[in-house]
Point group: none
Chain length 226, copies 2
DNA sequence: GTCTCCTGCCTCAATTTTGCCCAAAAATGT
DNA sequence: ACATTTTTGGGCAAAATTGAGGCAGGAGAC
């Protein structure tokens, strides 16, 4: 899914510059000659990032920013011809993410945009929810496991089992599994772990993963790479 | 709760500068003369933000960043004496958040730090009024949802449900929904979520949206694009 | 008062998961 | 080599979960 970027600037050649450089990076870009039309477009669909010139006829970039901030925390980058510190400070105070002084280096702008998106994605994916081993990735937020990006279609028990194996170094005993995943007190046959392993193995083989579940004889299981 | 900031720089006067300005802003600041000691401190307690000089004896700022990124997505600001573009790019590529070229304006740094924290808080408090996913845009101010700009005519419960799904990454459990949208204490049948999903799906299909609500078996739901 | 719409709940059918049994295979001990 | 213990894999059916249609009470509009 392409990231959508809206940009407002009254100077046509700046709009062209933004359009061409950001589009070349694979973003979907829409430019506007003034803040009002950008705001109107946001009401229909909020973009993933906004670039605002500060000095514009009609609403200033600051005013547009304030309006946007009532509805959304979409990242905003200001463009300014003035270098006065107070503008900079004011811009950041009302919630912008960055600013560039004209003339700016397009490559720097692109880099900054990518840095902002990377930051947001990192915040979202909150790291420890996603673990990987070999070509297998388990995403607990999605409650799903993937092999090379392809969904393995695991059931709740299977996901829990695999995730436990992946987050615990070395071999894991059957009793530990029964305690952690099935609940200690439950009257389940000790062999249920084997059932889950059986089904997991089948799905791993079907997906041609380079990961396999090895048996630790008389003890439990551990993950291995072929 | 004070935000904690760690900073590493081999130049004493830079450390003093950072210490005094950031402390004055109400942050808890600890400075280190090299990257190793900063990493060691992170093992004890991860700060809310890290400032790294790139050129340091021992580990470079980049190396410290790479180590940190294995454990955390803590925001990182680089300080550099060099203006070469490749350094900038490299720094951003390995997941930093920003950079400053020495000599830098302390007030600018402080502003940037506050902007980063503000951004994180906004992300967290997910009180977004306008959010989009695929061709769907939900505007909580209007209590309306649009598919490509066309009103979906959703009811209050449906709007709340869809908005919650859109503002929460990954799958959402039925219990979470019941708690957040129907209110925990209420004695509602667990299946009411299914009812809302049923009705939402019907409207999404009718609007020919590229968004669909996927079932996470035994857990809840999540948004997907076709 | 009447009408419409929203929403929770019920039921039945279809689907999926999962614990269990059993026989064969593998590993271990004597 | 032989007996014993453990693991494997197939198959099965009970249990759990979900989807769709329909219904009715209640809030709000007219």
């Amino acid at each position: 899914m392409k990231k959508v970027i809206y940009a407002a600037d009254d100077e046509a050649h700046i709009r062209e510059l933004l359009q061409s450089f950001l589009q070349k990076e694979g973003f979907e870009v829409r430019t506007f000659a003034d803040g009002e039309s950008l705001l109107a477009a946001c009401d229909k669909q909020m973009p993933n990032l906004v670039v605002l010139d500060i000095m514009m006829p009609g609403m200033s970039g600051f005013e547009v920013c304030e309006q946007l901030r009532r509805k959304s925390s979409v990242p905003i980058i200001f463009l300014t011809a003035r270098v006065a510190e107070e503008d900079y400070v004011k811009g950041l105070e009302i919630g912008s993410d960055d600013y560039f002084t004209k003339p700016f280096s397009p490559i720097s702008l692109v880099m900054r945009v990518r840095a902002i998106f990377r930051r947001i994605e990192m915040e979202h994916s909150s790291k420890e929810e996603i673990v990987s081993f070999g070509d297998i990735t388990v995403n607990m937020a999605d409650k799903a496991a993937y092999c090379d990006g392809k969904d393995l279609a695991l059931t709740p028990t299977e996901i829990a089992f695999l995730h436990y194996l992946m987050t615990h170094e070395g071999a894991v005993s059957r009793n530990e599994m029964l305690k952690q995943i099935w609940g200690f007190e439950q009257e389940v046959e000790t062999r249920v772990t084997d059932d889950t392993v059986k089904r997991l193995r089948k799905k791993l083989v079907a997906a041609e993963s380079n990961v396999q579940i090895a048996t630790v004889w008389g003890f439990g299981f551990k993950l291995e790479m072929k």
